[in-house]
């Protein structure tokens, strides 16, 4: 009786027409709207941060550099306009091709355009390898917590997790690049390719791969530490579920219980967390690209802050924020699609 009643409550009313926008569409729209608002705040913050602080902004823009009095006068003219006028000029198009870098005398977005691909190549490779290896380690460790494998891998990953990624990069560079402790230096000490090598030929690609090995190894080790710890914790949580006991009671072998039931459910939060951790990925990119002089966005950020080159710094901050907000949005939408509980 009570079961029947429950079913009746869940049944849609046959008289009323079904609404076109279900709860899923509403949730998705809400999430997209929130991402846009977050981004809008980044743009506003980006504008006011460099203008509302006490002190002479000209000093900040020109710190540590010789500039023509003419250039300084032009800059002062620009900054003397009413603040709201400057604000609207900025928010109308933060990607204005007219924004010049103060250090490279080149438009900032042009500079960034040149540096995007090396970063995508390096981070993409590192994230893919780290995801596969990290999840594999996490599954093995989390399925038998307290086992020998678990103890060794958790100890190692916790140590890697406590490491500044650039320090690991510097050590790998000294030992495997320059050569120390009796080892000859085998790998290149920096850059994306040897001078004079044409990177559009197969031999050139190999040269790029050879240059990419150490920075990629550094980032992979750091990222996989994070991913495997998350996967391990997620699987340990899943092991407590009752449906696993049912699967075992049915007589399913341990391997199948793991593969068919526990891992797919434990993967969901892990994959989402990998997307959510893009901010952490960006940190690694900035410092590791710096150590290996890898000509990507991270090294560009370092060059901008050492200037300091304010317009370039603003642009890289905006770009990284867009990337991270975008990845967060994807993670949330993924959850809506995969996990039916979110839609209720």
């Amino acid at each position: 009786m009570s079961l029947l009643q429950e079913v009746a409550v869940g049944e849609p009313d046959p008289i009323r027409p079904r609404r076109v926008t279900g709860p899923t569409a509403r949730i998705v729209a809400g999430k997209i709207l929130r991402a846009v608002v977050t981004l809008a705040f980044v743009v506003v913050f980006n504008f006011f941060l460099f203008r509302l602080l006490p002190g002479d902004p000209i000093g900040l823009y020109t710190r540590g550099r010789n500039m023509d009095p003419e250039q300084i006068a032009a800059l002062r003219e620009e900054l003397n306009r009413p603040i709201w006028e400057q604000f609207f000029a900025y928010i109308r198009n933060p990607f204005d091709p007219g924004i010049d870098s103060t250090r490279f005398s080149q438009p900032v977005w042009e500079l960034i355009g040149e540096r995007v691909w090396p970063t995508v190549l390096l981070l993409g490779t590192a994230i893919v390898i780290a995801t596969i290896v990290g999840i594999w380690i996490g599954i093995r460790a989390g399925w038998k917590p307290g086992s020998r494998f678990d103890k060794v891998s958790t100890g190692t990953t916790l140590t890697l997790y406590s490491m500044p990624e650039f320090w690991l990069g510097m050590m790998l560079l000294i030992v495997l690049g320059v050569g120390a402790f009796g080892l000859p230096g085998f790998f290149p000490v920096g850059g994306i390719a040897s001078p004079g090598v044409d990177t559009s030929t197969p031999a050139g690609w190999l040269n790029v791969l050879w240059h990419m090995f150490l920075p990629c190894l550094t980032l992979t080790l750091i990222y996989l530490a994070d991913y495997s710890l998350v996967m391990r914790a997620s699987l340990i949580d899943e092991r407590k579920s009752e449906y696993l006991m049912l699967a075992r009671a049915k007589g399913l072998r341990d391997v199948m219980v793991r593969k068919r039931h526990a891992v797919p459910n434990a993967l969901l939060p892990t994959i989402t967390l990998i997307f959510l951790s893009l901010g952490f990925v960006v940190t690694g990119a900035i410092t590791v690209e710096t150590v290996f002089s890898w000509p990507g966005l991270g090294l560009l950020t370092y060059e901008a802050l050492r200037g300091p080159d304010i317009p370039l710094l603003q642009a890289t901050f905006l770009l990284f924020s867009i990337a991270v907000i975008g990845a967060n949005l994807i993670a949330e939408l993924l959850y809506v699609v995969i996990d039916p509980r979110v839609r209720q």
Partner: protein, 289 residues
């Protein structure tokens, strides 16, 4: 001694009894005790002159020897002494920035959980914003605008790392506020301040402590990263700043591993120790509830 004090003292004794049997947690605690001792004794054992560039006695990039157990830096100073001083700076920055982060995080978390309406929504919105924005680019722009100094470094790290704590504390506050004794105190006429400080705060405090320990670990890593990027005080040799000068003076291409290896090991040990202690505290508290 009031009843509440007695009860808290007993709870603390029980907590310590359990912590003592947690091997990983105790290992972390011993490592921390060692580094804190070094940080306190550094100015007593080492004269500031031995860190003076103009009075340095060693050669440039000397490998480890009896006189310089960890070799020398680009100015011929002993790296061992630099490290001991760096412990002081790194730990000070780490603890101070954590304090700022915890105060902001706890206050925002409790208020966002206690109040209803627009104010609470605004607090949650700000928290979410800080959670989403990538930490390092945000810290870089803030530190560049404020200028390089140790105090600014503390401020920058403090105001960029509180959001995770705030979210955790808000969730905990919401669950505590559902308990009957909060309703009872409301019925007795307690105002918002009294409810938040006398009823909610003592209840979220154990969680704050466990979270603090884990936050210090992250904050010390952040300090190392920002100092490595040259955003700290150039004259204060924190571990990150030592790695910065090793990198910018070409210690890597010279193969001077003794300049790079030790500061990193110090960072790893301290961060790992804080993480182990924090995880042990979490384990004990989870087991209890």
């Amino acid at each position: 001694m009031s009843l509440a004090t007695q009860r808290r003292r007993r709870a603390l004794a029980r907590f310590w009894e359990q912590f003592r049997h947690d091997r990983a947690g105790m290992a972390g605690l011993i490592i921390l005790a060692f580094f804190i001792l070094v940080a306190i004794l550094a100015p007593i054992l080492i004269s500031p002159e031995s860190l003076d560039v103009t009075k340095a006695t060693g050669e440039r990039f000397d490998p480890p020897s009896l006189a310089y157990p960890l070799g020398t830096d680009e100015d011929g100073r002993s790296i061992l002494l630099l490290l001991a001083y760096g412990t002081r700076i790194s730990l000070t920055v780490g603890l101070a920035a954590t304090l700022i982060s915890m105060v902001i995080g706890t206050a925002v978390g409790i208020m966002a959980g206690h109040f209803r309406g627009a104010g609470s929504h605004a607090l949650v919105g700000v928290t979410d914003w800080f959670l989403v924005i990538p930490f390092l680019p945000l810290a870089i722009v803030l530190a560049t605008v404020l200028g390089p100094s140790t105090l600014n470094l503390i401020i920058v790290i403090g105001i960029t790392s509180w959001a995770g704590t705030a979210r955790l504390i808000r969730a905990q506050t919401l669950s505590i506020e559902g308990r009957p004794y909060i309703e009872r105190s409301k019925a007795l006429g307690a105002d918002n301040w009294h409810q938040m400080t006398r009823h909610v705060l003592p209840n979220v405090f154990p969680l704050v402590l466990a979270n603090t320990t884990l936050t210090v670990a992250i904050v010390i890593l952040s300090e190392t990263t920002l100092s490595f990027l040259g955003l700290g005080d150039p004259l204060a040799p924190s571990w990150g700043a030592i790695l910065d000068s090793a990198f910018s003076t070409g210690a890597v291409s010279q193969g001077a591993w003794w300049y790079v290896l030790p500061p990193g090991i110090c960072v790893v040990l301290v961060v790992l120790a804080f993480t182990l202690v924090g995880r042990a505290m979490e384990r004990i508290m989870e087991g209890r509830t």
